[in-house]
């Protein structure tokens, strides 16, 4: 399929191009919904569709008013503040515990490895609504429901599988003779960890952290149940916005979030390639 040979029949030619057109359409299906909201967020009217002014590229049809609303409306700024306050702390918790555990899991003799792994991965598998329901019941028993720490702990639990998976993947290619060499040269376990192991698994840790961050930053189901109004995060505000008083400010927020995700995607890709290069694999 890589290239059409010169002796291809007409039917083959038709199929070759038809297949590419089909694939192009699927790619468009994937990307258009995300791209279409970007110009719409500059709409000067409170509509969710292109106005005639916008289509004729009249500058009067465009404005930044929805962005202004996002940065001045206390509903939105408060939500942004909460998101920024919750996600990094949850990320730190999952990365800290997760990295330690991933290093432990990479040892050669771990009893009950499969069971432990299943438990640690389970927050990713269990549907969010079930996690949210369970956490709502249990956290209200122990007085965490509706508190900042309740949300942080819940989000940290949801982020842990991602840290475990990415860090374990980096540990697979880790050359264990390096730590032995360090020990041989007189370094203690802690010094070995920070000087030898950490720099090599850092790309995995950082991309795991980014996954954990985006999990918490995007999460809405659990925060709806575990949080109270004073923990209203950005996704929560978007959710209520979409369900009740639908306002075009959502599109401005969405555009900002798309730009954030482009940044995260780029970082993760760069890290992945760097990690593969460090481990001597092909640069992918």
């Amino acid at each position: 399929m890589s290239a059409l040979p010169p002796y291809a029949t007409t039917g083959q030619r038709v199929w070759y191009y038809a297949f590419r057109v089909i694939c192009a359409l699927i790619f468009l299906f994937l990307i258009i919904p995300i791209l279409v909201i970007i110009p719409l967020s500059f709409n000067a009217e409170d509509f969710f569709t292109f106005t005639p002014e916008m289509l004729s590229f009249d500058p009067a049809g465009y404005s930044l008013k929805h962005y202004r609303d996002f940065f001045t409306n206390p509903d939105w700024t408060g939500a942004l503040y909460n998101s920024v306050r919750i996600a990094p702390v949850a990320t730190l918790l999952s990365v800290g515990f997760g990295t330690l555990a991933a290093i432990g899991l990479a040892q050669s003799h771990v009893p009950f490895r499969a069971t432990i792994m299943a438990i640690l991965i389970s927050p990713m598998i269990v549907p969010l609504i079930i996690s949210a329901a369970g956490m709502y019941f249990f956290y209200s028993r122990i007085g965490l429901q509706g508190t900042y720490w309740g949300v942080v702990l819940a989000h940290a639990a949801l982020g842990i599988p991602f840290v475990i998976i990415t860090v374990t993947a980096t540990m697979v290619g880790f050359d264990r003779s390096l730590t032995r060499a360090a020990a041989n040269l007189g370094a203690g376990p802690i010094r070995t960890f920070f000087k030898v192991q950490m720099p090599l698994i850092l790309p995995g840790v950082v991309s795991g952290g980014l996954f954990a961050f985006i999990t918490s930053f995007d999460e809405v189901v659990v925060v709806l149940f575990v949080g109270s109004a004073s923990q209203k995060t950005l996704p929560w505000q978007m959710f209520t916005g979409l369900r009740e008083q639908i306002s075009p400010t959502i599109l401005a927020v969405a555009t900002i979030l798309v730009i954030v995700s482009i940044g995260l995607l780029t970082t993760v890709e760069i890290l992945r390639r760097r990690s593969e290069r460090l481990r001597g694999m092909s640069p992918g």
Partner: protein, 423 residues
């Protein structure tokens, strides 16, 4: 060479037998690994596993009747509803005593709304009786049977007493029966009235929508994964961005995009009207129904299908197809007999992943599904936050959890949970 090494066991440098020394080292290594894992394991057990266990517990827990009406429950033990008559004075006297305590603690309304899930009308019966019973004097106002029936003739109804008796145990399977449209009848479990049956229908719909979404993801994902794994690395890396960007974009961003696109005054309808395919007064209804849920969720879950398919297809050597063709196979035979069977692990992995994810979806169906496009998870959320029938919500959640765990087990068998890759 000393004599000891030849006769006795092999010794390590410090003089202990090598075998024991090795064992000790191994034990220490195991302990160290466990010590590294322990903090996280405890963290996950407390913040995640305990809540799930709590939910499972709540789906069978039922101590409210026995706690609120302790004396009545004991007195009611000997009553047999087959007699066709309400219980005697002893039970009513116990009820009066229990209710006075309950009204004091304001727990009788909670009990009323709990029993109301099983038989409508009990909630108001308890509230009404509570107000009256408060003023009675237990010592002088006997007998109570007539007085209760005077407050509300429902107290003479055998069915009310049967419900109280049925639910007087500490645990019940009643929530689970409710979750599959059954109830506890006089002669064991029985189906609910046709008009009250919704959960099996909802479960079937959840299954149907999840299967449809999985199939459409497969249909759209397969060609794309094939293209990505059969073009030069540089181009496929570029095209991969188009798959990964939606994957990394916030779920709510994508849901709001579909809401914008699919509305009656939205972009797609505008384009169709402009092209002339659809009349302006006859715009398509594409949102708040099953179509909206299917299309938006297919878009959201498509990357989860493409990525596993791609990682399997990348390992299939293209020479096999060429060999099949040079041996005389047509394009279709070569694909169907040679390529497709090798891509089945990817199909299995992707399909189970998409199915697991879609079966428990809440946000997107809630926003674009209307009333016909919602899943069982929306009902769980409704019971927990609006109707406050937590037990039923927990029972529905337990059923959904069981379903997902079976699929998870399958996934583990086919793919192996260690092989999950991200990005």
């Amino acid at each position: 060479m000393s004599d000891t090494t030849q006769t006795g066991p092999v010794l390590a440098a410090d003089g202990t037998p090598l075998k024991r020394s090795l064992q000790r080292a191994l034990r220490r290594e195991k302990l160290r690994a466990l010590l590294l894992i322990a903090p996280l394991l405890i963290f996950v057990l407390v913040t995640f596993i305990a809540p799930i266990a709590d939910m499972l517990f709540r789906s069978v827990e039922n101590d409210i009747v026995a706690d609120t009406l302790p004396k009545t429950v004991v007195a009611l033990k000997s009553w047999d509803f087959h007699s066709g008559e309400a219980p005697g004075e002893a039970v009513f006297a116990a009820l009066a005593a229990d209710l006075q305590v309950a009204v004091e603690a304001k727990t009788h309304t909670r009990l009323g709304s709990r029993l109301n899930y099983e038989k409508t009308g009990i909630s108001s019966l308890f509230r009404k009786s509570g107000r009256k019973v408060k003023k009675w004097d237990l010592a002088s106002d006997a007998p109570f049977r007539e007085k209760f029936i005077k407050i509300d003739k429902d107290w003479g109804d055998v069915d009310v007493w049967r419900v109280i008796q049925t639910y007087s145990g500490k645990y019940t399977n009643g929530y689970f029966l409710n979750a599959i449209d059954m109830e506890k009848g006089p002669n064991g479990p029985q189906w609910r009235d046709e008009s009250q049956q919704i959960y099996l229908m909802l479960l079937k719909r959840t299954m149907f929508l999840s299967i449809t979404i999985t199939l459409s993801c497969l249909l759209l994902g397969y060609p794309v994964a094939w293209l990505l794994s059969n073009i030069p690395m540089r181009t496929s890396n570029l095209l991969m961005i188009l798959v990964l960007l939606p994957f990394w974009t916030s779920l709510l961003v994508r849901t709001s995009a579909w809401k914008v696109l699919l509305q009656q005054q939205g972009v797609i309808n505008d384009v169709l009207v402009w092209v002339g395919l659809v009349a302006d007064d006859n715009r398509l209804v594409m949102i708040n129904n099953q179509f909206g849920t299917i299309i938006a969720m297919t878009h959201i879950l498509l990357p989860f299908m493409i990525l596993p398919l791609f990682s399997v297809m990348r390992t299939i050597p293209p020479t096999y197809l060429r060999a099949a063709k040079s041996l005389g196979a047509t394009n279709w035979t070569a694909f169907w007999r040679v390529y497709f069977p090798q891509s089945i692990p990817g199909i299995g992995a992707g399909s189970i992943l998409v199915f697991i994810l879609s079966i428990g979806y809440y946000i997107t169906p809630e926003l674009v599904g209307g009333t016909t496009g919602v899943f069982i998870s929306n009902r769980i959320a409704y019971h927990i936050s609006s109707s406050l029938n937590w037990g039923l919500g927990a029972a529905l959640g337990s059923i959904l959890l069981l379903l997902v765990l079976v699929l998870y087990w399958l996934y583990d068998r086919i793919v192996g949970i260690d092989n999950v890759k991200l990005g």
